[in-house]
């Protein structure tokens, strides 16, 4: 029996309406805001249409491009490290061994902590005088570092905090994916002569590539949107060395009081994330094997 177009539309309508309200409206609103000069605290009706002036102002600001490059570097380093670590840990811990369930639960705890709390915790750990990190470095004879006062080390600090919090996400996604791999295919590969590395790289990982692609996209989007941890840990400093784009948007909107310019930068962020997500999905289309 062929389902009519009307029936399909009726079934899809609620989901489309919710998606439109929850996702599309804020995006459209950001587009609208980017075309106006609106001073915060004044009536919205007092906003003046300025055409593309906000985009011109945003794109001619070297700090925007600096923030974008910091964001790209941050996302590239964090997501790469999280993917590699998360996948490696999932492969190591996927076996059904006694006590492994407890270990897995402990391992995903960082993901459950509020980002603000994570930022605070790491801020204390990276403290130059009293921090745990310097104390541990001291044990092995390394001089204390001014983690959050040095541009390179501050960047390393926000990267470490992000990897610590979000590697567990990759880990549980991969654990679930690996649990779904047909055991008999792995057994067939063993009979075919596959050693551990063959099994991992030629059988297991290609079989969960659709989950890897989805996880990569989700982490990529999240890495571009990260704000709280950086806000608490460095507030973009020292200088602008850790000012990622989301923080730049926040500062432009709520410190610089330039809502329209902030909206224009947000749209730049949206375009960058959309292009990268599209590219990641295109490279490993998760739906192509489901037909």
């Amino acid at each position: 029996m062929r389902t009519s177009r009307f029936t399909i539309a009726v079934y899809l309508a609620p989901a489309i309406l919710v998606m439109a309200a929850a996702c599309l409206y804020p995006v459209l609103k950001a587009f609208e805001l980017s075309g106006y000069k609106w001073d915060m605290g004044t009536a919205a009706s007092s906003a003046k249409c300025v055409g593309f002036d906000n985009f011109i102002a945003a794109f001619s600001n070297p700090q925007v491009w600096s923030s974008l490059s910091t964001t790209l570097l941050f996302a590239a380093v964090c997501v790469s490290a999280e993917m590699v670590l998360g996948i490696a840990l999932a492969l190591a811990l996927e076996r059904q061994v006694r006590g492994m369930a407890v270990f897995r639960t402990i391992f995903i705890l960082p993901m459950m902590i509020a980002p603000i709390a994570v930022g605070l915790a790491w801020r204390y750990m990276f403290d130059a005088q009293f921090g745990l990190i310097n104390a541990l470095l001291g044990v092995v004879g390394i001089a204390p570092k001014t983690w959050l006062a040095d541009p390179t080390l501050a960047f390393v600090a926000i990267v470490i905090a992000d990897i610590w919090q979000w590697t567990p996400f990759v880990f549980i996604m991969m654990l679930a994916a690996l649990a779904g791999v047909d055991r008999s295919v792995l057994e067939a590969s063993r009979i075919d002569g596959a050693r551990m590395w063959h099994e991992i790289f030629l059988v297991k990982l290609p079989m969960v590539m659709h989950v890897i692609a989805i996880t990569l996209v989700m982490r990529l989007i999240d890495a571009f949107r990260v704000l709280e941890v950086v806000y608490v840990l460095t507030f973009g400093g020292p200088g602008n060395s850790t000012e990622i784009l989301a923080l730049h948007v926040y500062k432009t909107a709520f410190i610089g009081q330039q809502i329209g310019v902030a909206a224009a930068v947000s749209i730049l962020l949206l375009v960058v994330v959309a292009v990268l997500s599209w590219a990641a999905l295109r490279l490993s289309n998760p739906m192509k094997d489901s037909a």
Partner: protein, 379 residues
């Protein structure tokens, strides 16, 4: 030499013994079928041969070499799985050549072997397709092709046809038989389907509760079942069973039970059956004839008559206190018997006689076979 031998093989999962003291020899080129119900230990036995399951006790030999502690790839075997177990992300050619590629075989040799296997299985036209684009039968062929290209000493099949529809299963069964004749490789085949076992096997190993019940050619296990389990398991419809006691009357051995007073087969007197000894009788549905022409008789109320074209299956109950359900196969169209009381008769030699306590067949030749089975199997 590419035979196979299991010596005292035991498999335990915790306290549960799944396979008990298995001794079996498989000759080079033989097609051995492990037959039994689900959970009887046949697949576990196959997996132990493959090296996918650890052997708790005993040793496994392939081609005279002890492979008990050897990695599956070093056992010189190939296995075809029930769900095919194809690599979903590789095309057919890559699936078939996987083992050769990772073991560093020259690309030209790989291509040659894949092409040869594809030709044998008639799958040359689907080499570029992914498994998701194949039908069940094609997937099965690819799985067999993957096994063939390795040129192993022993082929292992784990219920390879059970995911196929009836028509395709019958077709693939014939193809497997032809393939075995062509390649002549030692093959161990697990199934719960007795038709597959009867049609493919050079010998059948009947399993129950982790133990071998009988090893023999299809004709041996059908005509001379070693015990009541094998008698009931082999044959469609199942063998009819009757509880009786032996009775010596006027020097003649009779088999007497509820509504039964039958002459015993001639050989029964020679095996030391005593007066009043409880026995179980087995009678194949195909051994019965309508009428009263033969010496042993009984009457049946035909409740169901299933017309099957060349023959009919009559299912009814005996006119006795326990109203025993009996199946009979009669030639041609027997629908006229429906709801009638019909007399059936049979020759005493058609009876299979089992000890009621142990269930073992009392026929002398079977006893010998059974003892032999539990010690050591040779082809």
């Amino acid at each position: 030499m590419s035979g196979l031998e299991l010596r005292g093989v035991v498999k335990r999962f915790g306290d549960v013994v799944v396979v008990k003291q298995l001794n079996l020899k498989v000759a080079e080129g033989e097609f051995l079928v492990l037959l039994g119900e689900s959970g009887c230990g046949k697949s576990t036995t196959l997996r132990m041969i493959a090296g996918l399951e650890e052997v708790t006790e005993g040793r496994v030999f392939i081609g005279g070499r002890d492979v008990t502690d050897t990695h599956p790839m070093d056992r010189d075997i190939a296995m075809v799985f029930q769900n095919y177990a194809l690599y979903p992300h590789m095309d057919v050619a890559k699936n078939m050549s996987f083992s050769l590629r990772i073991s560093g075989v020259a690309p030209a040799v790989v291509a040659e072997r894949v092409a040869a296997a594809a030709k044998i299985l008639n799958i040359e036209h689907i080499l570029a397709r992914k498994p998701k684009d194949l039908s069940g039968g094609q997937r099965q062929r690819v799985a067999i092709g993957r096994a063939i290209v390795r040129e192993p000493k022993v082929f292992l099949f784990d219920e390879p046809l059970s995911n196929l529809d009836a028509k395709l299963r019958s077709h693939m069964r014939a193809e497997l038989a032809v393939l075995h004749q062509r390649l002549g490789k030692t093959t161990i085949y697990v199934t719960h389907d007795q038709v597959e076992a009867m049609t493919l096997a050079t010998r059948i190993v009947v399993f129950d509760k982790g133990q071998i019940q009988q090893v023999g050619t299809p004709a041996e296990v059908f005509n001379n079942p070693a015990n009541t389990f094998v008698a009931g398991f082999i044959g469609t419809p199942s063998m009819n069973m009757f509880e009786v006691v032996a009775q010596v009357r006027n020097g003649e051995l009779r088999l007497v039970g509820d509504g039964i007073d039958w002459a015993a087969p001639q050989w029964l007197g020679a095996v030391g059956v005593k007066d009043a000894q409880p026995l179980t009788l087995g009678l194949r549905p195909q051994s019965l004839s309508a009428g009263e022409a033969l010496v042993n008789r009984f009457t049946l109320r035909a409740d169901v008559v299933e017309y099957l074209g060349t023959e009919s299956q009559v299912v009814g109950v005996t006119q006795t206190k326990d109203e025993r359900r009996i199946s009979v196969i009669v030639p041609g169209d027997a629908r006229a018997m429906h709801r009638q009381h019909v007399s059936f008769c049979f020759d005493p030699s058609a009876l299979h006689v089992f000890d009621k306590g142990s269930g073992a067949s009392l026929r002398p030749t079977i006893n010998d076979t059974l003892t032999y089975t539990n010690k050591e199997m040779t082809p």
